[in-house]
Symmetry: D2
Subunit: 495 residues, 4 copies
Amino acid sequence: MAPPLPTHLDLSAVASCDSWNSWLLFFGVESMGKLWGGRFVGSIDPDMEAFNASIPFDERLWDADLRGSEAWVRALTRARVLSSLEAERLLDGLARVREEWGKGSFHILPEDEDIHTANERRLTEIVGPVAGKLHTGRSRNDQVATDTRIYLRDEIDVLDVMLADMQGAALELAKAHLNVVMPGYTHLQRAQPIRFSHWMMSYFWMWQRDRERLAEVRHRVNVCPLGSGALAGTPFPIDRAALAEDLGFDSASPNSMDAVSDRDYIVEFLAWGALLGVHLSRLAEDLILWSSSEFRFVSLADAYSTGSSLMPQKKNPDSLELLRGKAGRLTGNLMTLLVVLKGLPSTYDKDLQEDKEPLFDAVDTLKLALPVAAGVLSTLTIHPDRMRDALSDDLLATDLADYLVRKGVPFRESHRLVGLVVRRSEELGVPLSKLHMRDLTSISSVFDDDVDGVWDFEASVERRNVLGGTSAETVKRQIEAAEKLMLTFGRERRK
Amino acid sequence: MAPPLPTHLDLSAVASCDSWNSWLLFFGVESMGKLWGGRFVGSIDPDMEAFNASIPFDERLWDADLRGSEAWVRALTRARVLSSLEAERLLDGLARVREEWGKGSFHILPEDEDIHTANERRLTEIVGPVAGKLHTGRSRNDQVATDTRIYLRDEIDVLDVMLADMQGAALELAKAHLNVVMPGYTHLQRAQPIRFSHWMMSYFWMWQRDRERLAEVRHRVNVCPLGSGALAGTPFPIDRAALAEDLGFDSASPNSMDAVSDRDYIVEFLAWGALLGVHLSRLAEDLILWSSSEFRFVSLADAYSTGSSLMPQKKNPDSLELLRGKAGRLTGNLMTLLVVLKGLPSTYDKDLQEDKEPLFDAVDTLKLALPVAAGVLSTLTIHPDRMRDALSDDLLATDLADYLVRKGVPFRESHRLVGLVVRRSEELGVPLSKLHMRDLTSISSVFDDDVDGVWDFEASVERRNVLGGTSAETVKRQIEAAEKLMLTFGRERRK
Amino acid sequence: MAPPLPTHLDLSAVASCDSWNSWLLFFGVESMGKLWGGRFVGSIDPDMEAFNASIPFDERLWDADLRGSEAWVRALTRARVLSSLEAERLLDGLARVREEWGKGSFHILPEDEDIHTANERRLTEIVGPVAGKLHTGRSRNDQVATDTRIYLRDEIDVLDVMLADMQGAALELAKAHLNVVMPGYTHLQRAQPIRFSHWMMSYFWMWQRDRERLAEVRHRVNVCPLGSGALAGTPFPIDRAALAEDLGFDSASPNSMDAVSDRDYIVEFLAWGALLGVHLSRLAEDLILWSSSEFRFVSLADAYSTGSSLMPQKKNPDSLELLRGKAGRLTGNLMTLLVVLKGLPSTYDKDLQEDKEPLFDAVDTLKLALPVAAGVLSTLTIHPDRMRDALSDDLLATDLADYLVRKGVPFRESHRLVGLVVRRSEELGVPLSKLHMRDLTSISSVFDDDVDGVWDFEASVERRNVLGGTSAETVKRQIEAAEKLMLTFGRERRK
Amino acid sequence: MAPPLPTHLDLSAVASCDSWNSWLLFFGVESMGKLWGGRFVGSIDPDMEAFNASIPFDERLWDADLRGSEAWVRALTRARVLSSLEAERLLDGLARVREEWGKGSFHILPEDEDIHTANERRLTEIVGPVAGKLHTGRSRNDQVATDTRIYLRDEIDVLDVMLADMQGAALELAKAHLNVVMPGYTHLQRAQPIRFSHWMMSYFWMWQRDRERLAEVRHRVNVCPLGSGALAGTPFPIDRAALAEDLGFDSASPNSMDAVSDRDYIVEFLAWGALLGVHLSRLAEDLILWSSSEFRFVSLADAYSTGSSLMPQKKNPDSLELLRGKAGRLTGNLMTLLVVLKGLPSTYDKDLQEDKEPLFDAVDTLKLALPVAAGVLSTLTIHPDRMRDALSDDLLATDLADYLVRKGVPFRESHRLVGLVVRRSEELGVPLSKLHMRDLTSISSVFDDDVDGVWDFEASVERRNVLGGTSAETVKRQIEAAEKLMLTFGRERRK
């Protein structure tokens, strides 16, 4: 028989009552693992249990989940749903749960289907039935959205620092080799001479866009859905604005139905990650090419290379190949969530549980990849001599056309004339700069002795002295702008 | 024999010379279609020509391309590369080209491989060899990036207005049916009563996020790459900041190598479109369900329905099904570009030409879809009676649990008790509100006569009176906030 | 100082020599974990080590890896590269390694970068330096391809059985409810009456296609790459056909460069999985709809349902929603690998390591999902009464048009006439079958008293008595064909 | 007033009646464009009309649609639903429609929403009301599935021939340069010497797999859905097996609900196309690299190259870059359809209309790309001298290790020793083959004078004389096997 049930439950009494165990049985706490048991008769199929459980992956939300619960206790207390005594008991209990996670002594039980259940089950074991008051007026639907947003906001801040570190490595490299001139390529064909530092800075700016975008994503991540209940809001007088502030959110969600079902912020993050992945894949491609015997413009540090199990001479740029390959899973993760969301009826559907694994995988992938990319850059050896050797005269063909332009030949015509010059040079097997003046003048009488001034790679990069161009002055200005950004961007948030 | 060639080309003279035709021949202008002809010997394979040509799809950039060229003429003039006479001649010619496009009398020739070639070829026919000065110091690499950014910026502004119209339709519908109560669903199972207007507003907020994101994308679209040349900048003293301003850009790109190869802004736009597509697919799913005989909460206007070629009774929600299906191509377009970009070496590669078709398709798809979505909403018939009929007592089970909570029962226990009540009600085949008091008290003695107050759907939605909840007051507040946003958001830009 | 090194290494001697430990040191076996150490000076960055390691996920290939190594030992022995004594020693050692994995006593060390390294390292510890002969003439490039193919071939066989089980569950359900008539839908609007069993069989045939495709994929999976070395083949006289047969492969790969880099078979498998995922998502969608209060055609067993943490009355079809959602990750996995492969130079690149996680995830996902889908079907409750209640007269409008056709009215006209009848019925608020004869004849004088024969749902499904139609006879014939297939399909392979 | 309506419609009379025009009006044929008009009151929104129409893209199905209709007429006649007179009239009319399409004189009208409507509308204009009998017992749902399958089957046969042509070009190239030795790469680092012909053949085999897969896809494409009606089959006694045979299908679909909704065959085709796209992207990547100044192993024909609008010296491999880029849209098309299908309720939903554009785009893309790829190969210039120059000694490091193995050193140890040799060679700045014997023997006393035999690239490729290896004999055997396949594969079908 059950212990006497107080007509008006006085939990403080209950919690200390001697017949705690029988009480637990009576209240069905033995089946806490099944939060939704009352209505159900049959038991769950074991395959289904494994299929349904999210604890193997959402375990990592333990801290966010506890933070959410603590704030919810405070909100319920402000709303006078909990007494201050109850609140204290619950907060103490939650602190103990946190401690156990921190120490690694928290044990997940087979019946803990998700992190919310696990934390509440443990809280119940610690503080007794008062734990049953924690879930008042909330649902796992708003709870999991809150947890995920807290988690992601924090990871975004970590990733932003990693991005800044990678930018820093690029900046250092650009500054260290400011004046190294090398061939620039389009279509992987030699095009025009550029500065190595200019190339390096082109990645700085991609990553700056990545950081801008990430700050914008963060703004939409950092919205509090707690207090939206299952879909319709909460019937208790919760001050949702205060709750949002308590949890460090920028604002509270304006519509409960949207709030429990909105996964835009994860899609945005995954799209962000896919684009960053593409940027990393392009950097990797450049450096893989340049590490080949045929280019040999750079050497990768041994610390970021591996060898072959068969071929003793091999030093392979595995770090870069993996960076390139990671664009795959980052794109795949985005695709995963878009497919999951497509065509779902509004509010919460269980399909939404499929948001977490792609999110976690994207976060983990980038947290592994960014330090490797930064490390590759900060340990990279540049071979200016090899770059210089690759500066062939054809890289100056445009300068030759511009020479004619400055003498009044319309560009379209000068382009055609220099095309003929190039053809002549190929026919004769002689570099452009070594053609006889008569070879030139037979093509156009505009060529003059001063054409020799064209054959200077340094002069060529210096000539492109516009904003964003290759001259020393403009590259330096880029670097200065970049350094200023490094000091200011995102700084306010980090304070 | 060729006409006498002035040693220092005086184009104004040339343009008016009698021997214009022979001069044209001499200068090879007959092969203008091949901008890069001088160096080449063999002719192009016809399959390759078709494979390479972008004019069938980039034709739509004609206006952006002309605007870019006009600004470039002014920039070259400011840089004293063109005389004011030459500038005038070119601007007049470009105006004539624009006129022809406007009137539909512009003829694309087989040898026009892209829109840039087509416009310049026509300009040459109109103004003569001075046209050959237009391309001085620029490349198709910076030109096409400029054109695409102008085009997309303009389309973004169109799309934003369409989004606002769709939001307006939703707002009207919400206001017209503010107090209609209906079942809210999670997992497509009846969950709790909600307001129809609250449901409608949940989409308003999704679209508001879409508009916020779009404004952010626009900011990164609206950057001027012109003056970046092929990859290294331009050797003429172009004031790129002034040029950017002339074209209505917010800023000029900081690095020429990045500028010619950056397609982030298109990826961002396509990711934006994919997410909007997902939103539309969810709205469509809701309304398709609600249009079925089984729900029949709404009726679609005939104007947005179609019939069957076989079954005479059918009225099909094709508009909604297509809206749902369009999420496919919007996602596919995003994937297309991510795959194209993955692993490309930096600066311009021809693969980048594959950016346009997914972009154009996404723009076209959304410009077709958004007015249809708005039209569906503004002509939708709501059936409040059918909604009310669907309000079954089980939607109030949570309210019943909250009733116990207010009497001191911990929520977890009250949830379990109400689970037993629900089971009893199912066993007896009696709705919850019709259970005898003794059925309730046998489950918990806390149940009292005042439990009758629970069975009121209106009261249930009113009880959720928190920010974002279902009460009339909070929904009205949502609507007010939304209306304010409609007046202010993006307004500055539209001025 | 090192121990004396035999000029012509006699390993059997070495292995038993007293100075085994110092010998190990001398030979550098202490750094076995780094298979490619000789050439390298610097040590690996720890971030890079984590980034590079595949052991956390390729561990599951342990058995396939051992099988591959055993067969390789036999092949080397046949080629007289190993003596039979050495072979015996190696096979004994590999057997010991297998035993340790089987018992769970195999310990992965931090320096084991992949499963191949781990197994060889352990083998070396067990059998001593003779282990160093195992990798003769092979590379991890052909080894990993071999392991993955063995693994996948076996998993395909498991999946095929699971598919057959799911088909079996569908067949049982179809047979148990052969004659239940229900509304058929197109566009989610009621269209024509169908048999429930016919609906169920429509999934049987989708899955039969899945099984056909899987058998075809298996054929291309089951090709042996071993003996391809790093990219150029092996210089030892290996009989690759015999080796392939030894490992149960159907054939040996015809080109070594293709063999080490071919991941087609994984792409094929992932594409197969994505399509199966789509099939499951459609089944899930049907059943989720039918489980709603509005349809209530079926009830899901409690064993495959879950409840709500907030709403006590809820019974949610989580199993089905997850089945629907899994289409996301299955599609994402396919996308991942396509992106990884795109644009890679031929032969082996490290990017290919990114093939395994999507493959393993797809296998695991389907091995979880298929039994759940089968379980849902075999425990599903059908509500024929609810289905019958939903049979409304408009489902017979096509039959009414066909009635006119049989009286000589061209179908296009009869369709129009019945459209008018439907409109009349809606205007009058009277079901089609209850319209007065004068209502009908005012629309067409062809209507006659025998029109009453149309209003019979059973007769309607019976009338569609063509191959693939809804009549009892043709559905039975479907079922018989299906049962025959179940007995024969894939049977040969399973023997 | 309407013309007298025969009580039992005698169409042959009607068709010749004088009052044809008024009759047309009476029968509402003026609105044939709206096949489903009878029931509808409101008119269609013009935005919706544009959104709904598929004629702009499904127009290309005109011939398949006519073939399907002709076969349907014959099937209806065999089923005695049509008299032979009616059948003749309809077949004559359909022949006239075909003629108009063939001559380009068919005019699509604004109200023709799809190709089926357009063809039937025109047929009605030509043959009069008997055209209204054509659609008896079929639906656009089975009709469009039939048309698409006919279309795709034919395009598959075209693509297979194109693939064979591309294989032929590869074979010719391999045979022409059978004995050219070049560096083989893994990780884009020089690995081991290979034959150029061996590299070329590695693509042959990829494409052979593509052709095998395509044949399998074709088998599932070539199934006849006609006679499945809207979803439930047809109530007229159609012999579906005979109908399938009439249309050249391999079989008839076994379940009508599956038949109208099955798009597996398109998914399969798109997945096939995506993988072929990946293969082409890898070929392109190899050749782009080899066309660079740094490699210069090959030169692309001018016919497949383009120039720069700015840089006169440029010859860019645009054909290859586009081939690489096309992998993007081919993958995007696949994703599009997977997203469309995900989560659709069974049978026909309008979303399925979104299958056609990705299908058509994939077909068009491949029909453009394959001849270009074949053309690139058949006009490619090989530079054996550049390849030979790139053969550096480190490519023989594995051979050096194998040398030690043959002297009894376990491979793992020989690998380590050669690693030390490589390091020594780098320290001394001396190629491997130029190291002094004392440098070698200081590392291992096993090195002997016969080590000189290692430094022979030709001998190295000859040593790999196993199935799939690089020796002349085994490559020749590959080529013979390939030539045999070319003669036999798919030959039966082509007869």
